[in-house]
């Protein structure tokens, strides 16, 4: 995507790959469980030596969104309705946040380029491109209008998620532009097609921004491996030890490990 954009640039233009990050954080346990959902932004032009330092403020907060309350005890039908409303609100808010990137609605930007005042006092023509969005698994399904517990890269049936996929036999990829046309058509056949691919109907911001929505997702070691997979492994070993009556020994050995 970036290479394709780079080819359209004129001499002296700067490509600015925007990297967005979002992750829920909670502030207070009691008194109503305060939780926030900040959206951060940084750019890919920075050197990695600078941007990894926390005190350089390379990561800027662009939005601070409240998290809807979890409604567990209301009937199923109302719950679905509530979730749909939540999705609509989220997309509307994100549309306001990402407004400068949706060029069609923005007459100020000619062909997506902006004049930006740089640190040396000069103006430069910059072209911002949405390059990545780092988040954790459930957030991707919210952002990409997918159902929970599906892969956002490929159309993999839910009952085959645990199988080994050889690199030459990958499942078909997701095409979000296709989903957009299907969602706009709003006919019975289109809706059936969407639900067969575990996609929600409705307006989604990312399908209106010039980028490849599927590629926004990046593999994040911290969330998917350290607190995802290895955490699962720990749980499995715990169960394994329990059935084979080795749990006491296992715990004792963990205790003796130097902290």
């Amino acid at each position: 995507m970036l290479i394709a954009v780079k080819a359209t640039l004129r001499l002296g233009d700067t490509l600015v790959p925007l990297i967005f990050m979002s992750d829920g954080t909670h502030l207070l346990n009691f008194a109503g469980d305060k939780k926030e959902w900040p959206v951060y932004m940084t750019i890919g032009n920075l050197s990695s030596k600078i941007c990894q330092m926390p005190l350089t403020h390379t990561v800027v907060m662009v939005a601070l969104l409240p998290i809807p309350i979890k409604n567990c005890k209301i009937p199923r039908k109302r719950l679905d309705e509530q979730r749909r409303t939540n999705r609509e609100v989220l997309n509307d808010v994100l549309r306001r946040v990402l407004q400068p990137l949706i060029f069609k609605q923005n007459p100020n930007a000619e062909s997506g380029c902006y004049n930006v005042l740089c640190a040396d006092g000069n103006f430069r023509r910059c072209k911002p491109v949405l390059a990545a969005w780092l988040a954790d698994c459930p957030e991707y399904s919210d952002l990409h209008h997918l159902e929970r517990h599906v892969c956002s890269w490929c159309v993999c049936p839910k009952n085959q998620l645990g199988d080994y996929v050889p690199s030459d036999k990958q499942h078909p990829r997701r095409h979000h532009n296709e989903y957009r046309t299907l969602s706009d058509a709003n006919t019975k056949a289109a809706n059936a097609e969407l639900s067969s691919r575990h996609v929600h109907r409705g307006f989604n911001v990312f399908r209106h921004i010039p980028c490849i929505v599927r590629d926004l997702r990046k593999t994040d070691l911290l969330h998917t491996m350290q607190i995802g997979m290895l955490d699962h492994l720990q749980k499995w070993i715990f169960h394994f030890m329990k059935t084979h009556k080795g749990l006491d020994k296992y715990n004792a050995i963990w205790l003796s490990v130097p902290a």
């Binding site: 990561v59 907060m61 990958q170 911290l222 969330h223 492994l233 720990q234 020994k249």
Partner: protein, 202 residues
Amino acid sequence: MEDTSRYLLGVVPQSLRGGSPAQHPIFNRAIECTQALVEFYMYARYKSHDDATLSYMDDAWHRFHTLKDVFLLGRAGKKAKAKANALRTELVKKRRVDEETNAETRTPSKKRGKINARWDYISHKIDVSKELDADFNFPKIHLRSHWVKQIRRYGALQQYSAERHEQAHQTNINNGWNASNHNLNYLPQVITFQSRILCFEI
């Protein structure tokens, strides 16, 4: 978890030492499965990759998939557990009926042995039923299959660590929240606090 993975491979084989000869193959399988997953994680953390390391990575992942059945019991979800509980009540009822019918014919020591054997039998049955219903179909396990392709397209995975914005929570939000009056309108306070601090530090 980053640190625990370092010790995991030492701890698991140590705690599975001993045991009866019948248990050895299954223990070995468990150890190898753990090894494959940790190995895969270690390969994923490399700062640069080439074809050889990618093929090692894929190989470790394939090995994990052939061995993962050992841990099937740990994947038993709510449905499998409910089914197993139903089976347990049924088996316990059956056992009680059996005991009442031939209670007089046995001496106490023999009876105790019999009861223990039955309990083992019941727990084994429950485990089998749980294993039948359990599966490995959850999204995070599927994501791994895309990693090799992702590395080929975008480079090593370390650059996409989420630790950067986890850190940003601290400077941007938690400090602001601590300085606010914790009332209903704390959101604007957090934002103004954050922007002022940012101005000063720049």
